[in-house]
């Protein structure tokens, strides 16, 4: 497992990845187990329908809690899953370069015959694989919960919304990676990436309330994550393309800035 920077980065995360997996599995299963109780209770979604703002903020505008898709969208995919994926990705992205630099281990690593770009690409790949593991756990957890409560859910579509969530997580992981690569400061990277995440989340949730602002949602990565409702309609290729392009552009910024600056002692 210590073959190269990529495998070593995964190896470093083995314990944290295990705990994250346990947490996400529990979250997915428990949430799904509540479905029968909620759907039998009838019009719980009514409260959300009364306030578009609340619905947009806390359930992604999904107010139909009686269908499996509406329930999962509002309870899991609109807010909880992005929060979980983003925390993991931002922490991994900021730690990749800036974390090693601040701890002082980057000198030793960079004295080996590896280029800065190689290290970056390996670390980006490790982050992508690690978050994909969490995505797989989430999908399996929902599938297991759905089987237990006999929920009528397409596992294929369920997988697609998870992939959409992964792509969103990777965008913000790449954002944190780029900030960390440019500044060498882990704290700065976490703070700014999180601020961008919160800002664009609110943008996507609240801009639709004012007609004039509605087009601004297109500036938010969250729009490309969920607005096409991948759990019902499957992935929107255009939206996938936007998220992937954004990630690669941020990776490009990371490569560009890291190559051009002095590494801190």
């Amino acid at each position: 497992m210590l073959r190269n920077v990529f495998t070593k980065s995964l190896w470093d995360q083995r314990r944290s990845l295990m705990w994250w997996s346990i947490g996400i599995a529990a979250l997915a299963i428990l949430t799904t187990l509540f479905y029968p109780a909620i759907s039998e209770a009838g019009d719980l979604g009514k409260a959300l329908e009364d306030s578009e703002a609340l619905a947009n903020l806390f359930s992604g505008g999904f107010t139909d809690l009686n269908s499996p898709e509406g329930f999962l969208n509002s309870q899991l995919y609109s807010l909880t899953v992005p929060i979980v994926f983003l925390i993991f990705a931002i922490s991994a992205g900021s730690g990749a370069i800036a974390g090693e630099e601040e701890r002082g281990t980057l000198d030793l690593l960079m004295s080996s015959p590896v280029t800065r770009s190689e290290v970056l690409v390996h670390k980006f790949a490790a982050m992508t694989v690690a978050i994909s593991v969490l995505g797989a756990v989430l999908w399996a957890g929902v599938a297991l919960g759905a089987a237990i409560v006999d929920m009528d859910l397409s596992l294929w579509r369920s997988g697609q919304v998870v992939v959409s969530g992964l792509l969103l997580g990777i965008v913000f992981g790449a954002c944190a990676l780029a900030l960390g690569s440019a500044t060498g400061r882990r704290g700065t990277s976490i703070a700014f990436a999180s601020a961008v995440a919160v800002g664009t989340y609110f943008l996507n949730a609240l801009a639709p309330l004012v007609d004039a602002l509605d087009p601004l949602t297109k500036l938010s990565p969250f729009h490309y994550y969920i607005s096409a409702d991948p759990l019902v309609n499957g992935l929107d290729p255009l939206h996938v393309l936007v998220l992937v392009t954004l990630s690669l552009a941020l990776l490009g910024i990371a490569l560009f800035t890291l190559e051009r600056r002095d590494l801190a002692v």
Binding site: L2, K8, S111, P113, V265
Partner: protein
């Protein structure tokens, strides 16, 4: 002789803070070169340019004739490094760290790694986090020696080592030199460079003030002389003599520091009955200080 490291007018500013300026350094193949200066003089900055961790403000650096910036990877393939502040992945064991670092290059002879670990009495199965500073330094030394690279650059290598391990380190440097390989050691520890180095470069406040053979340096430098006479001597006879410094005369005893030739002193002393002549071999410490005392304000 080939220059393994060469810098030309190497200058580095951090913002408007000067770290090194116009450093012209040449390290020859097969020698042990000591880069001597107090903390903050610019030693680490010079080394970090060689590894392309930082980019010079002006001037250039080459290693094996390759530009440090353009061919960094090729250079790093053939150079080993011991960072001054030995920070390693603290959640890994020593063996894991060495495995990782060796995998990033080709071919490490693990028997040699085991041998090095034995010589430094270093337990590789412990997690780095639980190791003392000295033991971390040992892992740093092992990784610097284990690839048997053509050039080993070490920043304050013996810091934190006990005297026995220091000796082992000096032995290893001797073995590398016997192999015809080159060692570059930065240090603020004079007895250390005196012991292992062939030539030293003295750096002070970012400027390379002198490079010479360790032997020559000692020859050329100041000598302390003490002359005992049979009776009291007049202080005036010894004041204002050329090439003398710090002259004290008391009770028929003259003490002074001689710079260059002691001729004037000997001729002045010859007028009286000399009982005893004591010459003190200068330590490098004193030689070193003499370079610094030229500039007075904040000399160490």
């Amino acid at each position: 002789m080939n220059a393994v490291i060469r810098t030309e007018n190497l200058t580095k500013f951090y913002g408007d803070q000067m770290a090194i300026t116009d450093v012209n350094l040449e390290v020859r193949e097969g020698e042990v070169f000591g880069y001597l200066g107090p903390n903050g003089a610019g030693k680490t900055t010079t080394i970090r340019v060689l590894f392309d961790f930082i980019r010079p403000t002006s001037g250039s650096a080459t290693v094996f004739g390759l530009d440090a910036r353009e061919h960094s990877r090729e250079i790093r393939r053939q150079v080993d490094y011991l960072p001054g502040d030995m920070v390693i992945y603290d959640r890994m064991t020593g063996r894991e760290v060495l495995t990782y670092l060796s995998n990033l290059r080709e071919g490490v002879d693990w028997r040699y790694v085991e041998e090095l670990a034995e010589r430094f009495e270093c337990d590789l199965s412990q997690r780095v986090r639980s190791l003392s500073r000295g033991n971390r330094q040992k892992i740093g030394l092992i990784q610097a020696f284990m690839h048997r690279s053509r050039l080993i650059i070490m920043d304050e290598p013996s810091s934190g080592l006990d005297p026995l391990k220091q000796q082992e380190f000096y032995n290893l440097v001797g073995e590398v030199k016997a192999d015809g390989r080159t060692v570059f050691i930065s240090s603020h520890n004079l007895p250390e460079v005196e012991r292992v180095c062939d030539r030293i470069g003295i750096i002070r406040r970012g400027e390379l003030v002198n490079v010479e053979d360790v032997g020559e340096l000692k020859n050329r430098a100041l000598h302390k002389l003490e002359i005992h006479f049979s009776g009291p001597v007049p202080p005036e006879a010894f004041s204002n003599l050329p090439g003398l410094r710090d002259v004290t005369v008391e009770d028929g005893r003259v003490r002074c520091t001689v710079m260059g030739k002691p001729d004037a002193l000997i001729k002045a002393a010859a007028r009286y009955e000399v009982v005893k002549l004591v010459s003190e071999e200068p330590s490098l410490e004193e030689i070193f200080l003499s370079y610094y005392s030229r500039d007075d304000s904040d000399a160490p």
